[in-house]
């Protein structure tokens, strides 16, 4: 099973690749809306890609108040 750090790293890599932001510009505690320059519809797109990547189902209400990658990774890790 993935470690939390592996999960976090895969999220950062996937997000950077999909939204075409240099990987080195994204850090775990960044606000993903601001860093990726996305709105909520695009955040849902990211959520769908992450669900596919990790083979999990993550109800979007689990993202209430979540805006940084580290916390997002924690939510996903809890479903692995």
């Amino acid at each position: 099973m993935r470690t939390p750090d592996q999960t976090l790293d895969e999220i950062l890599t996937l997000a950077a690749s999909h939204f075409k932001v240099p990987r080195e510009r994204i850090t775990p505690d960044d606000d993903f809306f601001k860093t990726l320059g996305i709105d909520s519809l695009q955040a849902l797109d990211l959520l769908t890609r992450l669900e596919h990547h990790f083979s999990v189902e993550l109800p979007d209400y689990e993202l209430q108040g979540v805006s940084d990658f580290r916390t997002l990774a924690g939510r996903i890790q809890s479903r692995l």
Partner: protein
Amino acid sequence: MNKHDGQSLSWKLKEGVIELALHREPCNEIGSLVLEELEQFIPALDEMRHEVHALIIYSTVKLGFCAGADLRELYRRSEGIGKQSAVEGVRNFLERIHRVMNTVDAAPLTTIAAVHGVTFGGGFELALVCDLIIADKMARFCFPELRLGLIPGFGGIPRLKRDLGNAVVRDLLLTGRSFNAAKALQIGLVSQVVGEGEALRVARATAVQLGKFDRQTAIAAKRFIKPIPYEELKQEIDIFCDLFAQPAVEAGLRKFVESADAQPYLP
């Protein structure tokens, strides 16, 4: 009229298949323009019915199939006109959209929704009137209406009940959560999940398959297996209008419309 290019949607008839393309940026929100153009489509559909065996509804907009009702327009139209007038306006809109939805639902041809991305609220309801839903793997479905103090108003609840088990309907409606195409396939909502960007191609291939069979037989089979829940659809309108009169809805709409942050579509 075999071909029409509108502001929010367009259609064309080719080889027995009508393709209805939604193309209103940002995400085909259903307000007065989309409703008017759907109402123009209905008589055209009737005129074409003897020449067609399938209808495909899809979106050319990147973000998705349809994000639902145009909440900004709904809020603007309801502001400052008094609650009773606002509710009357909403009822009028709902009755019109229901006529469109019911016509497509009962149409004497096989209907396919080829969906991708955001398929929320009224957009989800538009997909549900179709006989088949083919979903791109990035499609995401949701009935977020409870977040606004409302229930789905375009016929979603009776149609969801028609297609799925009650426990699943309760989960989706009461949590207001969104779910992906894989989940949609698992619960029996969609008939196929296909690669990203492939929904329209697969819908077209499916339409070719549908064209191999006797039309009258297909129409008879569809009438037999697909009841239209007319009474429940009327009840849904009544419940929606009663809820729309409550203060929670105005607050919910205002919050959505005036949201300066990035998260209006998240719970």
